[in-house]
Symmetry: C2
Subunit: 126 residues, 2 copies
DNA sequence: ACAATAACCGAAAAAAGATTCGGTATGTCC
DNA sequence: GGACATACCGAATCTTTTTTCGGTTATTGT
């Protein structure tokens, strides 16, 4: 197993939430499952920027924390395999995920403007 | 400047939000400032687990994205120096930060239980 | 002048996280 | 059987983030 070298404060709610939701694609994966992409291959197609491996790993973590569960598939189509579904814990994360998405979209203008500054101007310490 | 090697989807709200809020201590820093810890040294004392350097760097990033601003200090006490304050953009993040904290605290039991499993049992791939 | 505190910054190193690649196993369709 | 899709996993490698450490500059109290 992999044990962290640096200890964290497990009494801080933010640290705990990030244990479950932290990771490059976890929000997107939860969003994908919520939108009906229940199988790993479907999720991978839905998020093509993410490597397949990281999707597998983050699914495993979400499963581990109980945000999703593995189900015998309901739609027995070709090639029938794994299906993931949100648990109640996972569903309780949806408003948070939605909020994170909304905030980003609402403020996309400002954020992108700043990011563009980084692109064209001289080296800045950031 | 540091330029990312791996490109990201800047049309995804979650990616954008995480540009501003991503980072080990950004939520805590916003929370600290909101609670009245306006100066770097005060924030550092408030979050002793974080290294001073990372607080400086993440303050610089929050400043860069316009979530906080540097102000001439209002309370001219010893040793008078920098003061940070939330901008309206920063304040608009507070509900999100609060929600992240709340979710973690509400589900602390389950999350910690899972984390403990990792501690005492045999190697698990996570 | 001197010790102490504050605010920063650069750079190396460590740690954490993600990607790439190659592999196994299973099942379906032709 | 052969081609193809799915679901995984291990390990090396690479990227990104954080830590550590050693500095600079400035201000205050003694």
């Amino acid at each position: 197993m992999y044990t962290k070298k640096i200890q964290e404060d497990l009494d801080c709610g933010m640290v705990l939430t990030m244990k479950v939701l932290g990771g490059k694609w976890k929000c997107c994966i939860l969003d994908a499952i919520h939108k009906g992409m229940n199988r790993p291959s479907a999720i991978a197609r839905y998020i093509p920027e993410a490597s397949q491996r990281v999707i597998e790993m983050q699914l495993a973590e979400l499963l581990f924390f109980g945000a999703i569960e593995k189900c015998p598939e309901t739609t027995p189509v070709y090639p029938k395999r794994t299906e993931y579904r949100l648990t109640s814990l996972g569903e309780s994360l949806l408003p948070l995920v939605a909020y994170i998405d909304e905030w980003g979209l609402k403020n996309a203008g400002v954020i992108k403007a700043r990011l563009n500054e980084l692109e064209d101007c001289a080296p800045v310490s950031l």
